[in-house]
């Protein structure tokens, strides 16, 4: 009898409400009321007043363990930050050190233009008798007196590897042929340098003996602009002692 259930359902809607139906209606009203109240309550239960103590304890536990995890993560990250800061500071110090070394070495090898107090020695040579050796003597005297940078005739920078020679009566320094008058610029303590030039039997006297003159000017600012090309050493290898 498949249709009997449907017909009963239809009859229930059409039939005159009896006592039984009223009771059922009352119970269903209570159910609907309670359900609606509970749904409202669940949706508005922002504080945890409706929760069981057990659930609250579990909630608290999970929250505190989560905050523990977050704190240990914070510690980790702060440590990483400190490490990175230290590393970058060390790197900055290393760069600073390297830069100052570079400065010293560029001055020593003559790869940069330099300026500073010093002297200018002008050597006139009307007789053409000033030799490369006597010029070299003058340079050595300047070095002894602490000259940091030396150049000749604004063309030849004098460094550790500089060589002096004569080709056809002309002085050649590092492959640069020089003509008189020779002008030697040297940077260092001006007074000490000029003393080194004019002491008895020194460079000035030597030039005088050869028939020329050497005049020395002290200056607060001497510019040395010629450069020496530094070459990669071919045979020497840096090594630990």
């Amino acid at each position: 009898m498949p249709d009997s259930a449907r017909s009963r359902l239809a009859r229930a809607f059409l039939a005159r409400p009896g006592r039984g139906q009223l009771i059922v209606a009352a119970l269903l009203a209570m159910l609907g009321f309670a359900a609606a109240v509970q749904i409202r309550f669940t949706n508005t239960d922002a504080d945890f007043s409706g929760q069981r103590r057990q659930d609250l304890v579990a909630l608290l536990d999970s929250l505190s363990s989560a905050s523990d995890r977050a704190e240990s993560r914070i510690d980790e990250l702060e440590q990483t930050r400190t490490e990175l800061l230290t590393a970058s500071e060390r790197r900055r110090a290393a760069i600073e050190e390297a830069r100052s070394r570079l400065e010293v070495l560029s001055v020593l090898t003559g790869t940069v233009a330099v300026t500073g107090p010093g002297i200018t020695v002008s050597v006139s040579d009307p007789a053409g008798s000033v030799t490369a050796a006597s010029l070299l003597n003058g340079v050595e005297e300047l070095r002894d007196a602490g000259a940091e940078s030396i150049e000749i005739n604004d063309r030849a920078r004098v460094v550790a590897a500089t060589w002096f020679t004569e080709v056809g009566g002309r002085i050649v320094v590092d492959g640069v042929t020089l003509r008189a008058p020779y002008v030697i610029d040297a940077i260092g303590s001006p007074h000490t340098l000029s003393e080194a030039m004019i002491f008895p039997g020194g460079f000035a006297d030597e030039v005088k003996e050869l028939g020329g003159t050497a005049s020395i000017d002290e200056a607060d600012v001497v510019r040395i602009t010629s450069l020496h090309e530094a070459e990669q050493p071919e045979y020497s290898q840096p090594t630990d002692r």
């Binding site: 269903l28 069981r52 057990q54």
Partner: protein, 110 residues
């Protein structure tokens, strides 16, 4: 017909009166609602089977709500309220499913 009207009336009253749930009843109300739902679906199934009886429905409704609340109360006293209310919900859920399946068979022949 009047039963459906009663249900709607109850829902509307619950929504508009906005009563607050008394503190001691708070853990039991959801369980009671689910138990009552079970009784209602059982009654509907019985009606479609042609064996519905007012008295049986009222008694099953009230006893369902009462026993479900009692079990949860006992569980709370024993310290296993959370687990026990979960168990009650599961059992009632299974019953609701089987009742709804019977109702579906009656109404849709499937």
């Amino acid at each position: 017909m009047i039963a459906v009207v009663g249900l709607l009336l109850g829902i509307v009253a619950g929504l508009f009166l906005e009563p607050s749930v008394p503190e001691p009843l708070q853990p039991y109300l959801p369980i009671a609602v689910v138990a009552a739902l079970d009784a209602v679906f059982g009654g509907l199934r019985a009606y479609l089977d042609g064996i519905f009886d007012d008295k049986v429905f009222v008694i099953s409704f009230v006893s369902n709500v009462f026993i479900a609340s009692l079990i949860v109360y006992l569980g709370d006293q024993l310290g296993v309220g959370g687990q026990l209310s979960t168990g009650v919900i599961v059992v009632l859920g299974i019953r609701i499913f089987s009742n709804v399946a019977a109702i579906r068979r009656h109404v849709f022949h499937a």
